[in-house]
């Protein structure tokens, strides 16, 4: 993992290092762009940042989200039905970074990026203040264009590793990543689960052994106890579905409250 790109130091690596300096894992909070609407996404993201999120992960709604479970699908379907356009993700990033200092990553399936053009997407992402991309259906084997563009614009590239990843693939993926590697905790899709799989610790250990400076765990993480468990061995914890459900059920205040709980803080007033 090379956390120094051509133009600057990795923003997400810096955010994780800052959390580490405080003796805690970084908290990475997901929400879909355009849900409940563009302004709602910005408000919820800012509330996350104010309540302990170190990195905000904004997901681009996509027609065929094969790695997502029912809760996130419902939110992204709603965003698309309301007419969400991919370019609005740049407005959202700008809206968030104008109001808080959180690092903002974009999570996206690959076809919307291909469609805009990998270079153009990367340029606009960097201009809007985005830190990089998390790419659930892009493996390093197919990422030549993205490697080039991410170097050119100084963006982080977060690939996924899984319990099924072989040692060789783990090594190649860690080497291709910048910022952190996303360790999938279980074989499955996004969704809150009562317990975090034991596999998570082994995936993180394998990622560290392969040279990852920052290995963060996602999928199935929904409560403070998970953050504490995972924080004992991982560099960051990624929460998605539970926050989306909170946003759906209780709006921005519910997101603020859950983020504060996850981060171990009291809610900001």
């Amino acid at each position: 993992m090379n956390n120094v790109s051509v133009n600057n130091v990795s923003k997400s690596a810096a955010a994780i290092a800052a959390a580490r300096a405080q003796g805690r894992p970084a908290l990475i909070c997901y929400l879909p762009a355009g849900f409940p609407d563009v302004q709602g996404t910005i408000d919820a993201a800012v509330a996350m940042a104010e309540n302990g999120a170190d990195i905000i992960e904004v997901g681009i709604p996509y027609s065929d989200p094969v790695m997502d479970g029912a809760v996130i699908q419902a939110a992204t379907v709603q965003a698309l039905a309301q007419g969400f356009r991919v370019a609005q993700v740049f407005e959202i990033i700008k809206g968030i970074t104008d109001r808080c200092s959180a690092t903002v990553m974009v999570m996206t399936y690959w076809n919307p990026v291909l469609s805009m053009g990998v270079d153009e997407f990367s340029r606009r992402l960097a201009e809007a203040g985005g830190a990089g991309l998390i790419t659930p259906d892009l493996i390093p084997d197919e990422a030549a264009e993205w490697m080039e563009a991410s170097d050119k614009y100084g963006l982080d590239r977060v690939f996924l590793v899984a319990p099924s990843s072989t040692e060789a693939r783990m090594k190649a993926t860690v080497e291709a990543s910048r910022g952190f590697v996303y360790c999938v905790s279980i074989m499955g899709v996004t969704g809150a689960r009562t317990e975090v799989s034991d596999a998570a610790a082994s995936v993180v250990a394998a990622a560290h052994a392969a040279g990852a400076e920052n290995a963060c765990v996602g999928l199935g993480v929904s409560a403070r106890k998970h953050v504490e468990e995972i924080g004992a061995y991982a560099d960051g914890v990624i929460v998605g579905t539970a926050l989306v459900a909170a946003l759906h059920d209780g709006g921005v205040p519910a997101v603020a409250k859950l983020t504060a709980e996850l981060s171990g803080r009291h809610i900001a007033v």
């Binding site: 027609s63 698309l80 076809n111 469609s115 259906d137 493996i139 084997d141 899984a162 074989m187 499955g188």
Partner: protein, 440 residues
């Protein structure tokens, strides 16, 4: 040599260009700029395992013999090549030959691929197969192979399609499969694939995803073609035996493209044989309701492969429309994208109306009820015939081979409604296909 058929695999009888230039055995993962593996890391280990198992099986005489035996003694291969003489008269007198995949066990070409993949699943020690289905033909074929080989089978089918093809749902359940209606998205084939992929990610240890078309990430496109190559190899040998020469043109319908790549395979190196893939034109390609992926789509990634794709300016997949559930898919196999780009195969749209006219014509001239999918290839053959005659070809010296990929029993409800053969109250009960109603 393709070991499953015993046919020469090097195009030795063909008018092929120089050896090494053969298009017939493209191994993947890439077909020109297309193909690859655009999919989650969680599935890559399973794709690698599948690829290794497939490559080892191809080289294993025991596996090859198993496939050959099942093809012959279970599916009923070789399928016939039937000269359609009365249909030919309606096609201006050109000679039309039908490759009768409709006569295979389960009623379509789909059986070729499922038997092969189910054998691979067993070799990998998997106990469960999952499949997607549009028209239900691949689901029925998968349920059949699962029953034959003692595998658990779960079939994902768009909720819209379970209504259009309720008879096939019952058929799968009779064979012991579980059918799960998918209510996400457009409730058709692409959403069934999404749901099957989600299942696969969660159950990949025990489960093989038996993809039904020549699309998806590597090795699926090359592997599905391999199991269907028997279609083209038989057809080539049969047309030479029956007509004394190669055909002028070969026509097949294209959804994902598995029957087409199977029959094209036999003729790809025969430079004088024109190859045509007919896509679902739905209400017409000047309307938004069609599935003409190569005709109007642009390159993108979906379900693991880079290929042509029906998508909007944001790269969101556009919902496709066709009277034929089996062609109602906004993507297409990557090898077809490549064959289109290099100009070896021509891809054209056929509207619902053109397909249904050809459906009716074959019923009444040949006593064969074709699948609506295959009717797109028949309609295409009529167009090819008209063009050939217009450009001065002698009809009686013009030969067209059509891949009749499936039988139309499953489509009787849709066709009866299209041709107003049942009263409207019964139609509502029996239905079938709201798209067809809208289209009329």
């Amino acid at each position: 040599m393709n070991p499953t058929t015993g046919e020469p695999a090097d195009g030795s009888q063909s008018a092929a260009t120089t050896p090494g230039d053969s298009l017939r055995h493209a191994a993947g993962p890439y077909f020109g700029a297309y193909g690859g593996r655009w999919m989650p890391e969680s599935l890559i280990a399973a794709m690698d395992e599948l690829n290794e198992t497939f490559e080892a099986a191809k080289a294993d005489p025991e596996f090859v013999a198993q496939v050959k035996d099942l093809n012959k003694n279970y599916s009923g291969r070789p399928s016939l090549l039937t000269e359609a003489k009365r249909f030919s008269q309606a096609a201006g007198g050109v000679r039309v030959f039908l490759k009768r995949e409709d006569l295979n066990h389960t009623g379509s070409h789909k059986i070729n691929n499922v038997l092969g993949q189910a054998l691979l699943a067993k070799r990998m020690g998997k106990t469960r197969i999952i499949a997607e289905t549009g028209a239900g033909q691949h689901g029925v074929a998968s349920a059949t192979a699962a029953a034959l080989m003692g595998l658990e089978c779960v079939v994902y089918m768009g909720a819209e399609d379970t209504r259009r093809q309720s008879l096939n749902v019952a058929r799968m359940e009779l064979l012991g499969a579980t059918v799960i209606p998918v209510t996400a998205g457009s409730q058709t084939l692409k959403d069934a694939i999404n749901e099957a992929l989600r299942d696969w990610v969660a159950n990949v240890e025990t489960t093989h995803y038996l993809l039904g078309t020549a699309a998806g990430g590597h090795p699926f496109p090359a592997m599905v073609r391999y199991f269907h190559e028997v279609i083209g190899e038989e057809a080539r040998e049969q047309i030479i035996a029956q007509a004394g020469r190669l055909p002028d043109a070969v026509a097949a319908c294209i959804g994902g493209g598995s029957n087409a790549i199977g029959i094209f395979h036999g003729f790809l190196d025969d430079a004088d044989v024109e190859l045509y893939g007919f896509e679902a034109g739905g209400d017409g390609i000047d309307t938004p309701r069609h599935a003409a992926t190569i005709t109007l789509g642009k390159p993108g990634v979906l379900h693991g492969a880079k290929s042509y794709l029906m998508q909007d300016d944001d790269g969101q997949t556009i919902e496709s429309h066709s009277i034929s559930a089996g062609l109602d898919y906004p993507g297409v196999g990557p090898e077809h994208a490549y064959l289109s780009d290099i100009g070896r195969v021509k891809y054209e749209p056929i509207t619902d109306t053109e397909a249904m006219d050809a459906f009716s014509l074959l019923c009444r001239t040949e006593g064969i009820i074709p699948a609506i999918e295959s009717s797109h290839a028949l309609a295409g053959a009529l167009k090819i015939a008209a063009r050939k005659i217009e450009s001065g070809a002698k009809p009686e010296e013009t030969i067209i081979v059509v891949n009749l990929s499936g039988r139309g029993d499953k489509d009787v409800g849709t066709a009866a409604e299209w041709f107003n053969l049942i009263d409207s109250a019964a139609t509502v009960e029996a239905t079938t296909d709201t798209d067809a109603k809208d289209a009329k």
